[in-house]
């Protein structure tokens, strides 16, 4: 046994953990459920909720598992009668002043009080006194977050988040005893740019998300793992979508994506995401290009194939890719453009934005590193004019970029007049799409399988959360169909997974990778792995 490992016994099970592990972590490793409210692996230990009490052989009092270091030879009981009784007692205390308004509480369905009550509580109620009334219900404490003090169990997770993660310290616990209440400090608002995380870590319904509250019940939602496309960090997220869209069309104004939540990845975003990413999902259901301008996909692709054949050898086709596309779509489209003898450009789909020291990067392209690994040079938006305007372009094929916005409408209008045919392949309406001769609707990231490569060179998977809207298709699908019409070889893919296998064979950066190997946490690309 390594000297850095210790062995202990939890509920009769032998566990080996590294030194420095706490009992709660060891118990969870052993598969022994120890409930908790105030404990959060990303925050300091508060030890105040007292529900994680466990019995340790040789120690007379029950101990909190969250603050007790596991030691070699320790014998821990997490499920015996004494411990179960203590948990029930803590739940009884927590419910002394907690309002029983589950039917109207936005947290119903994912409230830890409800869950633990069902698992460990279920006692005959004995509290027959008046509850303490907190000052106000549902107050605005920031742009994104509402606070309902009377539902708060004072676990202090949100306070610690603001103190320890963002360092902005907006929240505090005021007063004493059962009059204690959480609030923002006078003159402050929760506006760190990461405020949504306090909603995620609130175990009860005290802090709720203005964007989400009362839109739907959580049991109508499905959850799919994905990666945030908001910047090059590639924060791991869960996409919460409506389970039965047609049946509940009236909910959330018909939106299919209801909210995004962070997904834990210690190597990327730990437990957090920024507000910009969290609330940047509306484009999935708003302003979508869900139909072809005219005709069917077959007719459109046939028409486009004929145009490409006409001008293929004149050197006047330009294909414009985006570092917002997945590795698979970029690989497929790049290959198609090469087959069509097109000049391929890849341009940043937005100007650099704001970054910070926590998660946000200034590069708002989720897949710049992937594009570069595929051999594309990503040019800045201000270089687009030079790249396009001095060319004689017969056919411009734009994937996902609103070049009218990038170039300015006047310049775009001039450019548009000079070219004979313009194709817009993308997911959302914009000036460029409106001016295009042909519009090929694309899926958005939540309708795709695929992968992004983040700023650190970590390749991470996206899973399909929604069916493509209307006639939208993944870009690789369009590329493969068109390649067949152009009689190009090597496009015989049936799925994104097959493209990725192909990509991993051809591109050294992705060498040895597969969807299975990427798993939920992703893998560093070869160059990054060597340089790190």
């Amino acid at each position: 046994m390594s000297t850095d490992l210790i062995q202990l016994n939890i509920d009769g099970k032998h566990v080996e953990v590294p030194k420095g592990t706490t009992v709660i972590q060891a118990a969870h490793k052993a598969g022994s459920e120890v409930p908790f409210y105030c404990y959060h692996p990303g925050l300091s230990i508060a030890g105040n909720c007292r529900i994680c009490l466990v019995e340790i052989e040789g120690v007379p009092k029950l101990q909190i598992a969250c603050n007790t270091p596991a030691t070699d030879g320790m014998v821990v009981y997490t499920q015996n009668a004494k411990v179960r009784k203590a948990r029930q007692d803590v739940l009884e205390f927590l419910l002394v002043n907690h309002p029983l308004d589950c039917p109207v509480c936005d947290q119903a369905g994912e409230c830890w009080l409800q869950d633990y009550y069902m698992q460990h509580g279920q006692y005959q109620a004995r509290m027959d006194e008046n509850k303490v009334k907190k000052t106000k219900k549902a107050t605005h404490i920031g742009k994104e977050v509402m606070l309902d003090q009377e539902r708060c169990i004072l676990c202090s997770r949100c306070v610690r988040f603001c103190d320890e993660i963002t360092g902005t310290g907006e929240l505090g616990i005021f007063n004493r005893g059962d009059h204690s209440e959480i609030n923002v400090y006078p003159g402050k608002l929760l506006e760190s740019g990461y405020s949504g995380n306090v909603v995620d870590i609130c175990p009860v319904g005290a802090l709720t998300d203005k964007d989400f509250r009362f839109q739907t019940r959580v049991w109508y939602l499905a959850s799919t793992d994905s990666v945030c496309p908001g910047c090059s960090r590639g924060c791991n997220i869960q996409v919460h979508t409506k389970k039965d869209v047609d049946r509940h069309a009236f909910k959330a104004q018909g939106r299919r994506v209801i909210r995004l939540k962070p997904r834990t990845n210690p190597l990327v975003n730990r437990w957090w995401i920024c507000d910009e990413g969290r609330y940047g999902y509306r484009f999935v259901d708003e302003g979508r290009l869900s139909a072809l301008k005219q005709g069917t996909w077959a007719e459109n692709l046939q028409q486009l194939a004929e145009r490409i054949k006409e001008v293929k050898n004149k050197g006047s086709i330009v294909g414009l890719l985006s570092p917002g596309q997945t590795n698979e779509n970029l690989f497929a489209m790049k290959k198609l453009f090469e087959g069509a003898s097109a000049k391929t450009l890849c341009v940043s789909h937005t100007a650099a934005g704001e970054g910070d020291n926590l998660l946000k990067t200034p590069d708002k392209n989720p897949n710049r590193a992937g594009a570069e690994a595929l051999g594309l040079t990503v040019i800045a938006t201000n270089q687009l004019q030079g790249a396009l305007c001095n060319r004689d372009i017969e056919l411009l094929w734009v994937c996902g970029q609103d070049i009218a916005r990038i170039l300015g409408e006047e310049l775009f209008s001039e450019l548009r007049k000079r070219m004979r045919w313009m194709v817009y392949q993308g997911s959302n309406q914009n000036v460029t799409s409106a001016a295009a001769d042909q519009v090929l609707p694309s899926t958005v990231y939540v309708e795709n399988q695929g992968s992004f490569t983040n700023v650190d060179g970590r390749v991470q998977r996206l899973w399909q959360a929604l069916r493509p809207l209307g006639e939208a298709r993944p870009d690789w699908h369009t590329a493969a169909d068109l390649a067949a019409r152009l009689e190009l070889k090597g496009f015989e893919w049936q799925s994104e997974e097959m493209i990725f296998e192909n990509l991993a064979e051809k591109v050294p950066f992705f060498s040895g990778m597969s969807y299975e190997a990427l798993g939920t946490g992703g893998l560093l690309g070869k160059t990054a792995a060597l340089s790190s």
Partner: protein
Amino acid sequence: MPKPLNHLSARFHVNGGHTLKVYKECHGYEGAQKAMAMQPDAVIEEVKASNLRGLGGAGFPTGVKWSFVPKTTSVPKYLVINADEGEPGTFKDKYILERDPHALIEGMIIAAFAIQAHKAYIYIRGEYVQPMKRVRAAVEEAYANGLIGEKTLGQDFKLDIVVHPGAGAYICGEETALLSSLEGGKGQPKLKPPFPAIKGLFDCPTVVNNVETIACLPLIFRNGAKWFADLGSEKNGGTHLFCLSGHVERPGVYELPMGTPLRELIYEHGGGVRGGRDLKAVIPGGISAKILNADEIDVNLDYDQIRAAGTMLGSGGVIVMDETTDMVRALWVASRFFHHESCGQCSPCREGTGWIHRVIDRMARGMGRIGDLDLLLDVSSNMEGRTICVFADAAAWPVQSYIEKFRAEFEEHIRSGRSIIASESKGCLTPEHAVIPAQAGIHLND
């Protein structure tokens, strides 16, 4: 009648006893000079040999506590004096702070030298206005006379002392809550481990000692550890300032050897129960301690013997209750105090103290139910031993001991539906004026 001793309390009744001049006339700062002529480790050993224990209530051996402080560390070490005397029934430190502050400063020099701390704080109860003035003046006097500062007592040892007023929270008497408050945070206890000796003030090694404990040090070094140890009982060295209050003829502060019988304190020094009435109950160590009934007072007042009797010496606040005492009212007062003072950090304490007080309040208003007593016992038991600090235990013990020892009275109160609260309108005592005078400051032996 054995007379109270006059070591710690020697200058309590001396005009100008709080001044450096008088203190020096009484061999002041000689003990510190002796200590500073020794090696720090030898100072700690001397304190261990004296059997001095923490007189703030915990009773932990002082020298042992100091020995936990790392000898070598890259960060500063601190000495913090707990002068946040908030335990109802306890008012002894007030005397030292107000009437003999140089004894505290001299003791601080010894303690700081022993642990090699160069900065010390006196965290003093905000309500102690006069004691604070006296302590501040004494600290200034000590600086002005070169007793502390860059060259403490002329030696190559720097010691700065800061007087810091608290803001009126009982919990700030708990050592880690005191440190949180001193750091500028909310006065809430910290998780242990780590203990303050390893990670205390500003995350640096810190010793927190009570005023009286530190004030004993000059005596120990002036007279020797053996002399001090011999004053008290086994493993409980020295004397203790017992605070006697409630229904006694002569309430006040009495300096008596550790191990003095409780009966002797009440009947001989205190002059017995007021008006010749019968004794009903005694709280031996401040409001938190489990109550003793009249048949249980043949116990000696030191940490070990009184623990064996099922209660605790605490801070030495002995509260006497005569036969007229309404135990429901007494518990109402205690429960209201603990409800008001719970810091609110841990769920069982935050919610339990309020729940308990609301049940007792309903009972006191004549709306009690027989099941309430078992409910109170169960709720208090569920709080006990399950929180970060011992406040929840302190809140639980009165409930348990009052009901256990006076259950018939509680049941009678519930059955009769008698309301204590309603009696306010008839000019009777309100519960606020119940048997416990708290820090009323009635000291007839002044």
